[in-house]
Symmetry: C2
Subunit: 236 residues, 2 copies
DNA sequence: TAGCCGCCGCGGTCAGACCAGATGATCAGA
DNA sequence: TCTGATCATCTGGTCTGACCGCGGCGGCTA
């Protein structure tokens, strides 16, 4: 009902807020240099600690980049901060529903990713996907490298959508799951099955068949989950 | 080919890294209090500036909360940082493909959201969705309030999925788009059409018909886009 | 015993100093 | 003239020590 009374902003928060606002209003453009700390001191009439802590916050948000000996510069808008935040979130989050939520989202995003890739992949994109698959086939006996190529396959697929946002949202999820996979003991024949599925996916993408591509990916993910569940059952 | 030579970590980055690692390893648990700054000084053998700047970074990442007069405490894992980062990203990003990317993702996520809501919505969820729709109908002549209730409708739908990750990814996107809508001039009959679509969505959700719910939402979003394009065409 | 009050521990801010890396002007030598 | 070393002077990074105001706790008082 009642809003918690906001503690009056700490000065470094206020300074950070003002500079952030200036950047968002496009008063400062990417590449521009912020005034040096000792100048901001006078501008805001605060101590250097306040200025420095403000700049740290803005740097962490990905708004500026601080280069020792040179200065602080406005950064190009980019997805780095979101990617990091999402990865950190996925790493810490451990609800009872979390695994289910993650799986649902992955099926959804990655299914559509594959369909989009089938529509938009360039020759170069396809080459990268094929290279990753070839890597999987070559390293089927080295789980660590195998998983690496597996991840590479999914990343190349995401890139092939030419939808940056899709790539941004999907990559941390895929990364987390393949990471987990690397820590599971290999189940018998898991690699062979994975390769079979990946081949089917690539085939559909090359044939420019979005519906079939989506189906193949969803089948792969369902299989993947089944394997994870089997493994969990076998160790509990 | 070559990796850029990594400048040796600044001390406040190193300190932040170590504390973050300790939190992620679960050596520190949510609610735990970090040692006071003056104690960390001795522990790390650095000055208080370094400690303070480290803590600012961790606070910005959402790992700790700093309470003046009390101390620094480990925060419960939460989605706040991701939400903020995603919103900031969406606000700054302006590729030529950005609008297309955003639309694709929204259709995908929100279509599935609606389908999931149809499966999982509780009576309470449904009541909230209905309340939002009622608000839209009551405020059809007040664009600002209308948009607010529209957003509320979509938020309630996202909550009804009971998939936190879905909600997390979708909300900033929905928020951005309805925000943009509020700044467009109202096109004739746009509100009436929107209400009609929302009614259809709610109907399908209440009938527990995921496929129909997804269809209704996708139809609504397509209509929404058409409106936006019309408006852009009429003003260019 | 209930309530006031002051001590103390905490983060927030300040001032001034020095360090190291980057940069550009200057100047000596080829 | 050109080249290269050198140095003054920017920048951010770190250190020190001090003071402020808030929150909590315990002792003191009515």
């Amino acid at each position: 009902m009642f809003q918690r009374v906001q503690r009056q902003p700490r000065m470094y928060e206020e300074v950070a807020r003002q500079i952030e606002a200036a950047i968002l209003m496009n008063h400062q453009r990417p590449g521009d240099q912020l005034p040096p700390e000792r100048e901001l001191i006078e501008h805001f009439a605060v101590s250097r600690s306040v200025i420095r802590e403000s700049l740290k916050v803005l740097a962490e948000k990905g708004l500026i980049e601080i280069l020792p000996g040179k200065g602080a510069f406005i950064r190009e808008p980019g997805s780095g901060a979101v990617h990091d935040a999402l990865r950190l979130y996925l790493r810490r989050q451990r609800d009872e529903n979390f695994a289910r939520d993650l799986t649902e989202i992955r099926q959804l995003l990655e299914g559509e990713t594959t369909a989009l890739a089938a529509t938009r992949a360039t020759a170069e994109d396809l080459a990268k996907i094929e290279a990753a698959l070839a890597g999987m086939e070559a390293e089927r006996d080295n789980l660590e490298k195998f998983v690496q190529f597996d991840l590479q396959f999914h990343q190349a697929l995401a890139t092939a959508t030419h939808n940056d946002l899709m790539e941004l949202l999907l990559l941390p999820i895929t990364g987390l799951l393949t990471d987990m996979m690397a820590h599971l003991s290999p189940l018998p024949r898991a690699q062979e099955e994975a390769i079979k599925h990946h081949r089917a996916i690539l085939r559909a993408v090359k044939r420019r068949d979005p519906a079939q591509a989506r189906r193949a990916m969803k089948a792969h993910l369902k299989q993947f989950e089944r394997r994870v569940r089997e493994y969990q059952a076998s160790t509990s």
